[in-house]
Assembly symmetry: C2
């Protein structure tokens, strides 16, 4: 799995992922854009030309913070601040391309351990300085853009120095990883001891352990390895009131599961500084395959059968007709996909078990009308699986607008929800005379339901941000109206908080505010994220 | 599975379970007691001779409550009040046998639907009357004994009229069950539609859906069907502030999982009035087997291998040497067990899958030194599995003291924890010159750890309650010192709340208090349970 372990890199502030993995538009896709009359709309402002607002943190506070973490770990460098501004959503990237750095933090702090984090939070509480916990910086829901009002500045609390494996219990198969450890580094460390986390979200190259926990990440192998919140057995959390240490057993009946209150809390209750996770032995065999279904409904029925009656592959995904035809997941051949609906199955484990599971799952897929495409199609997906999002940057350059959104629901609602979201987004964009492509896949399955992941593409206009806001609002409304969850794994951030408030109701929101007031009385932690202030 | 569906019965206030299933002591066990010089210590007070305290709820409040639920559903009947006094722990039963009804509720209310529950909570909040939510009444941790101080009386809110299946979605495989539906009734209703919940805790005959959720129940088939909290996809909760409706998807990234905050909340945040659960098709095949291991360590290694590398049986349990020898689980032959350590494996599902899983699991058990005892031993356990606890009543009559406690930890700590708890309990009882038998089994397994379930037996002295309190405190301290959870599935109640407070720390306790203040500002719900007031 060496391709899962690239060296740590500095990410660019204005594009997806690792600059070394940047891609260009394949001719097939360029031709499609030309045919639609899509042309570049604006030249992006280079990061070095972006003008940053002055730093608002008072000198006294700055010195106090330097006293905690060391002067070398308090940064005001412009590119450093820019790199900690917002996340990886298309609106975030478009704002950055427009040279808008209004959300930039005043300082970037890099504490060295848990105790320094606690102390930073104490200093910032006293000084009323807002703190944005920053681990991977890969939020696509506005989870890193704080509200400044009422604060004497904003600091980004970068956890990159909280790195590495703190403990490994090979008998219990648990590992304690520090929050700033990025996905590839965690795999490297665990695999050295023969273990794997098995967590490979789309943001894998950039996201880190703390972010996985804080945002309830779900990886591409969730069918086999579970979601990240399934893997967590313990958490250490620094709050302005001190330390919360949670997780005394795999599972228990000792009251509410407070781990589940911190998971998904997106930094508003505290800063997760280390996470104890369940790990598994590195699998000795890995097989990926492609399957074709005549329709999305046929494919959905097949993946539902596997999710409910088993056996479950380690990876199980199903693209709809549009996504299969456009094939954006593969930069090398994007724009030249195929007919029907592509499903990907993957199996990891020991040879005998993998072969038995694969045979039984294949029999179910065939019974449901699936046609096996062989390992080449599966391997192509596996190798390219982190590359798809890199297409967005050249697409934005070429004048296209591309964004994703996702939701989750129970099986009986999968079809109606898919249709409702698609129609809502297309209608909202048509109101701006923007024809759009809305494609969808099922990326995560459960016995009782699944997630739906949508990619939307349309021409990019100068008013793209407002236009997308309208389409996104329409999607959110459709999701709410159908009773589904406003996010399956992207999280709430600022982009979803109004819809989220509807989802959990006024009492649910009050509960979250009460927890926040208890742990963060000054309200400095990621203000404006998850719940309105 | 017709034996899983007995008719609803009235339980006695002073003994375990269904009076129709009462057992007598087998001669083998009586001989053991005689040999130890154990003789009856006191004749229990008959329930009809117990003198109840007067009812403290003011007439005005009583009338307001009758206005909400109807006069027919407000009961002051002595036996009715007695039946709603405390739960099924040995201390609870001993108090009742001693004629101590000091914890009896003043009234028993039986609301007819969710809205009536909300209204009852509003009336009781205004009148400062404490409310003990009562579904199955099977708590063994003091979860039903409220603190009266500061209240104008205590009402037991019996949910038995909130009964039945409110909705079934066969495509998503979800069912919405009203909170008061007892386990057997839930199975009866689901099985009529071809589904099963697969949740069979020891309290199955008495416990109900709302209690399963409120106390994070775990059933004997947890290896195959999961714990009850794994099954829950939605909850409706009546609080003094109104209704909380949770669960829009199987899983999501929409903030903290608030379902997990209500699960295990033991009635202090609100009254769970209905639960939507994942259901599965009724299995067509069921096979149970016995296995013998030379030692607990060998057996523990075997069940760990199945839990970590699979395949997992549907039921997987391992008794230690003492428990295997004493065989208290089987009233018919208790006292005449066998050597070594007995493990029980059970498999449920479709024939081909069950056979494959059984063969693969059996190979692992054999590799780890297990000797197959065949289906008779397994079937004996299955048939008798709800009968073991009925032995306690004749044992108490005979002058023995018997009680259970349980915990959970990570695999590497299973051996040390078992030893520490055993030694702590025995030492504490020896301080009272009480020799004791401490037996243990692993009842629930996870990839990273397991639960340990202890049964303690010793002579019953007139000071049994104080003696047990001392032993229990020693066990709690040993559990805390080893970093394990104070309960795996019994819950916190009042008996564990001090140790629980240590487990989650002062900040964790403050978080729970903040949530309670938000949902139950008058603090009427189950006061004194889970957290001190």
């Amino acid at each position: 799995m060496s391709e899962l372990n690239p060296p740590v890199v500095d990410f660019a502030p204005d594009r997806w992922g690792n600059p070394a993995h940047a891609v260009t538009l394949p001719d097939s896709l360029q031709a499609t854009l030309d045919g639609l009359g899509i042309h570049p709309v604006a030249t992006p402002v280079a990061p070095e030309d972006v003008v940053l607002p002055g730093s608002a943190v008072p000198q006294e506070t700055r010195e106090a913070l330097a006293g905690v973490v060391g002067a070398a770990y308090v940064s005001e460098d412009a590119i450093d601040r820019l790199r900690h501004t917002r996340g990886w959503s298309t609106p975030d990237i478009l704002k950055m391309r427009a040279g808008d750095a209004s959300d930039a933090p005043d300082l970037v702090l890099r504490p060295g351990d848990h105790d320094e984090v606690v102390e930073v939070l104490r200093v910032c509480s006293d000084a009323r300085v807002a703190v944005v916990p920053y681990s991977g910086g890969t939020s696509v829901v506005g989870g890193l853009a704080p509200e400044r009002e009422g604060f004497d500045g904003v600091v980004a609390l970068d956890l990159q120095r909280l790195d590495g494996l703190a403990a490994l219990d090979p008998v219990s198969r648990t590992a304690t990883l520090r929050a700033g450890t990025r996905g590839p580094r965690a795999e490297e460390l665990l695999q050295a001891d023969g273990f794997t986390l098995g967590h490979f979200p789309q943001s894998y190259e950039g996201a880190s352990i703390g972010g996985y926990a804080a945002a309830r990440s779900a990886g591409q192998s969730s069918a086999g390895y579970g979601r990240f919140d399934d893997m967590v057995v313990g958490l250490v959390v620094a709050t302005p009131r001190g330390t919360l240490t949670l997780g005394t057993a795999p599972r228990s009946a000792t009251g509410p599961d407070l781990r589940q209150l911190l998971l998904g809390s997106e930094g508003i209750f505290g800063v997760i500084t280390s996470v104890t996770v369940r790990v598994r032995p590195v699998p000795s065999v890995r097989v990926f395959e492609g399957w074709r279904f005549a329709s999305f409904d046929d494919g959905a029925q097949a993946v539902r059968r596997l999710a409910q009656d088993g056996p479950l592959p380690t990876v199980l995904r199903l693209s709809d007709e549009v996504e299969t035809a456009l094939n954006l997941a593969d930069p090398a051949s994007a724009g030249s996909g195929s007919a029907g609906c592509l499903a990907i199955t993957g199996y990891e484990g020991e040879p005998t078990e993998v072969e038995a599971r694969r045979a039984a799952a294949s029999a179910v897929l065939e019974e449901c009308g699936g046609v096996a495409l062989g390992e080449e199609a599966g391997e192509k997906w596996r190798v390219g699986r982190f590359h798809g999002p890199y297409l967005r940057d050249p697409l934005l350059d070429a004048g296209a607008f591309v964004e994703t959104l996702e939701t989750a629901t129970f099986w009986s609602n999968v079809g109606p929800l898919k249709q409702a979201v698609t129609e809502a987004v297309q209608a909202a964009l048509l109101a701006y005379e923007l024809p759009s492509l809305v494609m969808c896949h099922i990326s995560h399955v459960y016995e009782t339901g699944a997630s739906l992941y949508f990619t939307v593409a349309c021409p990019q206009r100068p008013e793209a941000l407002a236009q997308w806001e309208s389409a996104k609002a329409a999607a959110n409304a459709a999701i709410r109206a159908s009773g589904a969850a406003i996010s399956h794994h992207h999280g709430v951030g600022r982009d979803h908080r109004e819809t989220y408030a509807e989802e959990i109701g006024p009492l649910g929101t009050e509960v979250l505010r009460a927890v926040k007031s208890t742990l963060d009385p000054a309200g400095i932690l990621n203000p404006g994220v998850l719940v309105t202030r």
